[in-house]
Each structure stands twice: as structure tokens, then as C-alpha cells.
């Protein structure tokens, strides 16, 4: 080995160490803990688990897709070249730039059925009691999705904006000259250029949304009656109940869904790398 190779190995070592100690060993040990079929049997018999799986699927399908349709639309709005729109985009980033706790607590208080500003306003305007935003399980799940979208929308809008800005202006000018309507421009120019980015981002967001603990936990804490859990919060709930094997089992159940996505994303980034290095 030359000194260059020795230094290459030495400088790589700290991260390799971190990976072994805090990723590889914990994950292997966790999987070993989750090897007992018994924990899956009791997990499947737990009625909370079934509700949680349904919640999670809904959360992923609705929140992710809604978020991306909105992000796609808003990215088209924010690419307009106006000074005030640039300022608005700076404000628009706030939910993403701020930590989760203050803003989610704020939303939680706004929608408190008794004292929250929302229901107070509804009462003052109509004389009726507002809905039980956070104590009705279905409504509470919808609210959690709303919180998730509120927090994550700016980031993905930014990403899609960058994608839109990468499309050559000439394409739009040519389309205009050819007499294309706004919808036709989207369909024939924007979408074909943006599609790959849109799909990749959606898949990545699927994985990350699956791991979104804050939007649910800080808003509802899984309540009422543990009916608003998703897999991320359920795993943590089992930890708190000191049922580590159940916590791991919860995660293992999601792996057949997560791993292909992770594999796909890794392939995509590695593939990109080869392209750029050539």
C-alpha cells in the first residue's frame, strides 16, 4: 500500500466505525431480537396494530400524493419571475426551516376542541360547537396528514422548482410560437422533463413519510385510545411499554415495503454518480 492508500483508509475509518457501531450492530441485533415468531403472533393479535397498518397506508397514499400534487402546482406558481413572489417563497420556507415542536404544538392548540381558536371562531360565527378535530380518530388522522403536508410541502416545492428551472426556456417559447395553451405546455414540455424527478421524489418521500414520527405523535400522541398511530409511533409506543421485541417486529413488518424502495433509491443515486463521473 502506498501512503496515499493508507491515508485513504485512515480517513474513511471514522465513518466506518460509526456505521458499524451505530447502524450495523444495532440493526443486526434488532433483527435477531425480532426472530421469534411468537412476537409477530401477539403483534397481529393486537387490535391497535391492525388500525395502525390501515392508518399508515392511508397516511402514505393520501398525504404523499396530495403533497406532491400541491408541490407540483405551487412550484409552477413560484417560478414566476416577480419580486413579490420571491419574497413569498422566502416566507413559504418557514414551516420547513422551523423545528417541528413549536409549530405542531401551535396547530394542536389551534384545533383544541374546547379552547382552540378555530372552534372558538366557529362558535362565535355560527353559535355551534366545532368538530372534535383531534378527538375524533378519523379527523385526527386527517389533521396529522395536514400537519405533515404543512411541514414538508415547502421542501418538495423547492425541489420541483429547481427541476422546473432546469427546463430550457426555449422549449416554452417554441411551444408558445406553436400556439400551445398553458395546459398543453404543461403536458408536452413541463411534465416530460419533470416526470423522473417527480417520481423519484415521491418514492423518497414515501420512505421518509413512513418515518414521520412528529406529525402524528406531537399532534395526537396516538390518542384517542391509540387509534391514530402509524407504524413509526407504534414502534416507539412499544419501546415505552418496554416491549422491544414488538417494537422491532413492527419495523420488520414494514421492511418488505421499505427495502425495495431503499434499494431503488440507492441504485438511482449510484447510477447518477456513474453518469457524472464519465
Amino acid at each position: 500500500m502506498t501512503t496515499w492508500q493508507v491515508w485513504g483508509a485512515l480517513l474513511l475509518a471514522p465513518y466506518v466505525l460509526v456505521f458499524f457501531v451505530f447502524v450495523l450492530y444495532p440493526v443486526s441485533y434488532g433483527l435477531w431480537l425480532a426472530r421469534n415468531p411468537e412476537s409477530y403472533r401477539t403483534l397481529f393479535e393486537d387490535p391497535i396494530f391492525f388500525t395502525t397498518v390501515v392508518n399508515t397506508i392511508f397516511f402514505l397514499l393520501v398525504a404523499v400524493n396530495l403533497k406532491f400534487v400541491l408541490a407540483l402546482y405551487l412550484s409552477g406558481f413560484f417560478v414566476h419571475d416577480r419580486r413579490w413572489i420571491r419574497w413569498l417563497s422566502v416566507i413559504f420556507i418557514l414551516p420547513w426551516a422551523m423545528p417541528a415542536i413549536p409549530t405542531i404544538f401551535s396547530i394542536r392548540f389551534m384545533f383544541n376542541p374546547e379552547w382552540g381558536v378555530v372552534n372558538q371562531t366557529i362558535f362565535r360565527l355560527t353559535g355551534l360547537d366545532g368538530p372534535n378535530w383531534l378527538t375524533n380518530p378519523d379527523l385526527a388522522m386527517a389533521m396529522a396528514m395536514g400537519v405533515h403536508i404543512w411541514k414538508a410541502l415547502p421542501f418538495w416545492t423547492l425541489i420541483l422548482m429547481a427541476g422546473r428551472l432546469a427546463i430550457p426556456k426555449e422549449l416554452y417559447e417554441a411551444a408558445s410560437v406553436d400556439g400551445a395553451t398553458a395546459w398543453q405546455k404543461f403536458k408536452y414540455v413541463t411534465w416530460p422533463s419533470l416526470r423522473t424527478l417527480y417520481i423519484t421524489s415521491t418514492l423518497l418521500s414515501l420512505i421518509w413519510t413512513l418515518g414521520d414520527f412528529n406529525s402524528v405523535y406531537l399532534l395526537t400522541g396516538g390518542q384517542p385510545a391509540d387509534k391514530t398511530h402509524v407504524l413509526a409511533t407504534l414502534g416507539i409506543r412499544y419501546i415505552r411499554l418496554d416491549q422491544l421485541d414488538h417494537a422491532m417486529a413492527t419495523i420488520v413488518v414494514a421492511l418488505p415495503f421499505v427495502l425495495p424502495l431503499v434499494y431503488f433509491m440507492m441504485r438511482r443515486l449510484s447510477g447518477d454518480e456513474q453518469k457524472t463521473s464519465q
Binding site: G8, P26, M98, P99, P102, S106, V262
Partner: protein
């Protein structure tokens, strides 16, 4: 023609106003509570009759049951965030230099391992990590959160830094080698100075990620002397009659610095972070 122009401008505003309200209402709500007295906080008004800074005074003087350790907690938050930021920066810079410039053997495998960690949902990794930290005897030690956050932040940091390094001309390394540089001299005298913007972005990224983290913080730390402010804030939810106006004042103190840092370094952040994500 001007009519059409007016119409398209009006359409833009029709989007802008809902977006502005949607973005700002929850944030304004924090602000409103933090400057309201307890009575007016719950009156449902859009501006308090007598705006007051009293809530902040209460926080700073630690005059509420939930706030007895406020200064201690904010110190913990800061300490943990800076430590995690610095360690992430150091580890990721070395790794990116090794993979990108020294072409270390196994660099590609390590990069893949890092990407794997990056894509695994953080809440999933939390479970085995919690168990492992227990085994290592680190639970309730601030280092557990520092190391956990390094684990979470390093993969993306390496990825972004590697992307940035790959863009540096290869001839610079060759010129330095011919000029007689050792690997460490190349790292210190050529590589680091050229990478400064990306290093700033990565340090900021890891710092904010750690400051903002809640899940790992409340899993790994529970002793009131070790918890960061994020977990302290969570404690307000323990009872139904929490002092919301004081919570919101605390939340504002907690939430504004990261937002300010984000905006201060936005130039670096947006460039560096979207470059990594957008590449398509």
C-alpha cells in the same frame, strides 16, 4: 392587453393569499400566544388587548414548574447541536475526501452503506439504536444523542460533500502531488480551503437537524439535567391545563434561532442541499 395582464396578475394573487395564510397562521398563532396574558390568550382575538413580554420574563427567570431547568436545557440543546455538527463535519469531510479524492479502496461500498442509512426512515432506526445505546451504557448521557445525530446526519453530509468534491478539478490534486504534497497536506492546504462553502452548509445542516430533533432526544435522554429544550417542551403536554402562553413563548425562543440560522445560510443551504436531491 392590459386587461389580460391584470387577469393573470389577479390569478397569481389568488394563489398567493391562501399560500400566505396557510403558511403563517400556525406561526402567527405561536407569536400571538407568546405576547398574550393568560386571560386574553384564550379569548380568540387576533391581537391581544394588552400585548406583554411578561411570558418571556417568566421563561428567562425560570418561574414556572415546567421551566425550572430552562437555561440548563437550552445549554444542553446548544451543546449537543454544536458537538453533533462538529463531529459530523469532521467525519464526513474526511470520508468524502477519502472517497472522492484519494479513491480509497472500498469507498464505493462505504458510500452505499451511508446512502442506505440515509434512506432508512429515522423512526425505524430509532428502535434498534435505543437498544444499542442501552447496551453501550450511554442512555441518559448527552453523548448518546450526539452520536445518534452524527449517525443520522453523516450519510447525507458525506453524499453532499462527495458531490461537491467530485466537481473540483482533478489536476489540482496532481499538481499538488508533483509540488510534493503529502495526502494530509493536500487535504489541509488545497482541499479544505476550496470546500469552505460546502463545509459551512454541512455544519449548519447537522446543527439544525440536531437542535430540531425530538424523537431521538426523548428516547435517549430523560433525566431532567440531560434533556435538551425540545424534550423539555414536550413535557408541557403532560397535563391538560398547561400554561399555553408560556409554552408558546418558550417555543418561540426555541424555534427562532434555527429559522434565523437557516435564513442566514440560505444561500449555502439551498444550493448545496437541492443540488444533492435534484440531480436527475
Amino acid at each position: 392587453m392590459t386587461n389580460r395582464k391584470l387577469l393573470s396578475e389577479a390569478k397569481l394573487w389568488l394563489v398567493a393569499i391562501p399560500v400566505l395564510l396557510w403558511t403563517l397562521i400556525p406561526i402567527y398563532h405561536i407569536f400571538l400566544f407568546s405576547i398574550s396574558t393568560k386571560d386574553s390568550a384564550f379569548s380568540g382575538r387576533l391581537w391581544p388587548d394588552h400585548p406583554t413580554l411578561h411570558n418571556f420574563v417568566t421563561v428567562f427567570k425560570q418561574e414556572h414548574f415546567y421551566l425550572h431547568h430552562f437555561w440548563n436545557q437550552i445549554w444542553n440543546s446548544l451543546w449537543i447541536a454544536v458537538a453533533a455538527g462538529a463531529i459530523t463535519l469532521a467525519i464526513a469531510t474526511c470520508a468524502a475526501f477519502s472517497i472522492s479524492r484519494l479513491k480509497a479502496k472500498g469507498g464505493r461500498t462505504v458510500m452505499n452503506a451511508a446512502l442506505f442509512t440515509y434512506f432508512i426512515p429515522a423512526a425505524f432506526l430509532a428502535v434498534p439504536m435505543y437498544k444499542a445505546m442501552g447496551t453501550y451504557g450511554l442512555l441518559n448521557n448527552r453523548w448518546s444523542l450526539v452520536l445518534a445525530m452524527v449517525t443520522l446526519a453523516a450519510p447525507y453530509a458525506i453524499w453532499v460533500l462527495k458531490q461537491a468534491s467530485d466537481k473540483l478539478p482533478w489536476e489540482l490534486d496532481e499538481a499538488a502531488r508533483i509540488d510534493g504534497a503529502t495526502p494530509l497536506q493536500l487535504f489541509r492546504l488545497v482541499y479544505l480551503p476550496l470546500m469552505v462553502p460546502s463545509l459551512v452548509a454541512i455544519f449548519t445542516y447537522a446543527l439544525l437537524l440536531t437542535w430540531n430533533e425530538y424523537l431521538y432526544a426523548f428516547l435517549l435522554l430523560s433525566h431532567e439535567n440531560t434533556i435538551p429544550l425540545a424534550v423539555g417542551l414536550g413535557h408541557f403536554l403532560a397535563s391538560d391545563d398547561s400554561p399555553w402562553e408560556i409554552l408558546m413563548a418558550t417555543a418561540l425562543i426555541y424555534g427562532l434561532p434555527p429559522a434565523a440560522i437557516y435564513y442566514a445560510f440560505r444561500r449555502y443551504m439551498v444550493g448545496g442541499l437541492t443540488a444533492g436531491a435534484v440531480k436527475s
